[in-house]
Amino acid sequence: MPPEASAAGLPATRRRMPSWLATAALLLPSYAWLTLAVLLPLAAMFAFSFLHATPLGNKPVVWTLEQYRAFYDQPYLLGVAWASLSIGLWTTGICAVVGFAAALALVRATAGRARETLLILVLLPFWTNGLVRVFSWTMVIREGGFLDVFVRWFWPSAPSLGFLYTTPAIVLGLVHGYLPYMVLTCYIALLSVDEAVIEAAQSLGARWWTVLFKILVPLAAPGLVTGAILIFVPVIGAFMEPRILGGRVGVTMGTVIEDQFTQAFNWPLGSALAFTMLAVVLAVFATFSGVLRRSATT
């Protein structure tokens, strides 16, 4: 029954709340919380980014725009930013392929209890501390680690496969950490795909790749995009995985910003870099969303 019909069926004597009030009442708690927990700290950081030095002690407060010149004054930051973006793209890309495949398998090939169990197995890594997961990887992929031990069971003189302290190691750690987001968003998107559509395609002679790329991927696109955003944004700011798995190559915008807060005690520069990255990410999504909307309407 459409909602208008049920509304019309109510007794005329019962007074109804104006719809805007109901909407406001429902939104208020979460927006109040967001204001308190996200917007206010963000605003404070935004204000910090215009300061000359961290406002602690009895130093005079000096307002300046110099922090936003960081990319100009320290051009090596451009290289760091590019490294972060490429790590973000690799991680998101691998998550998309692997996560979509896993979600597809869950939706199309399992049912009932088996599906529930498999879903829980996807979520299981979320219940362990991220730091523990990353440190476990260091034991696996370092030279002479579990990976090497395992390979040398079969081939005793195998060269070391250890790749700790490389960019692939960072991507591996990040994919491990963020894959469940992609599996879940794709899973939900694929659940809503009507079985009849696929059967229709197959009855018209579509092979599996046609079904996959012409039907499943476009219909699950909202899930893929949501997952990509959920993963890409935290990944380009990640600092734990690059630091632990990256060794010498683990310098990303995340670690640079973290250093400004923890080591250099230069909160203004850290905030300015963070907001510059935020602006870049928003710009990317603004461009991206335009393209998506156009492709959806045509």
Partner: protein, 285 residues
């Protein structure tokens, strides 16, 4: 610590202050000037630490030097001990070096190598050049002792910038095969001192407590039963067992060659941090 002193007058009777911060606290009139004649155990303090300029403001002493330590090199047993920090860039340690991820320490090493004052290098480009030359050797930038121990025991590097106190712990607790080496340029030193806040209500008791803290008897018990940093009291160090690792690593002659970290003005600290960040990005690229 400074914020606590500023905002809680009268609450603290003794405060532990790093020597690089002592002048700042004394300059804000937060501390009481001290007379070492009132401290019977002060006679054993190493003169270079006891009379350190950073503990003095306007000629008056504001802190009793208590414990100290060094950042220098650690090398795996069985390898030649490096004579200079230049080994960090030497081709024989290709892909075999770990550096401490700390701007002040690493700029210090670069300053030593380019013959400059570690606390005020005038030519930061020369420092950067020396640090960047280490790139082919750098395997790892470590930031915690635990990380260092794991990587060293996995054989990931043989030569590293390391802390003297951590070197003692790595050998004692984990039996890691390493030697702590102070190269000819000397170590990068730190010194913690004990001071009495100007607002303390129990100045005499505070002085007695500080005297107890630098007492060799207390130190030997602390160092042998629990483990402690090196004492600024030479007598205390001499009373440690002859084979004590702590005593072996913190030799009195190193106090003479080490450069203590100085109070850094904000703009210099920022310049150090930015330079180290740039060098790290160069290593990663």
């Amino acid at each position: 610590m400074l914020t606590k002193l500023r905002t809680n007058p009268g609450v603290y009777d003794v405060v532990l202050i790093n020597s690089a911060r002592s002048q700042q606290a004394a300059g804000e009139d937060l501390l009481t000037p001290l007379d070492l004649a009132n401290y019977s155990n002060a006679s054993g303090l190493a003169p270079a630490l006891r009379d350190n300029a950073y503990l003095k403001t306007d000629g008056k002493l504001y802190g009793v030097s208590w414990v100290w330590g060094m950042n220098a090199l650690a090398i795996r047993d069985g390898m030649d001990k490096p004579e200079s920090y230049a080994a960090l860039a030497a081709p024989e340690y290709k892909n075999n070096v770990a550096l401490f991820d700390d701007a002040v320490t690493m700029i210090g090493v670069g300053a030593f190598l380019s013959g400059q004052d570690m606390n005020d290098p005038k030519d930061l480009d020369a420092v950067a050049e020396k640090l960047k030359a280490m790139k082919p050797n750098v395997k790892l930038l470590w930031s915690s002792e635990d990380q260092w121990n794991k990587a060293f025991s996995a054989g990931e590097f043989d030569l590293s910038v390391y802390w003297s106190g951590a070197a003692v712990r790595s050998q004692r607790k984990f039996q890691l095969p390493l030697h702590f080496v102070v190269p000819k340029e000397g170590a990068i030193g730190w010194l913690d001192s004990l001071s009495i806040p100007a607002t303390s209500q129990n100045q005499e008791a505070a002085a007695k407590f500080i005297n107890y803290m630098i007492d060799p008897k207390f130190y030997v018990e602390w160092a042998t039963k629990i483990g402690a940093p090196a004492s600024a009291n030479e007598k205390a160090m001499e009373e440690l067992p002859a084979d004590d690792l702590n005593r072996d690593i913190h030799k009195p002659e190193y106090i003479e060659t080490m450069t203590l970290m100085a109070p850094l003005p904000d703009d210099r600290r920022t310049a150090f941090n930015n330079l180290w960040q740039e060098v790290k990005a160069f290593y990663a690229a």
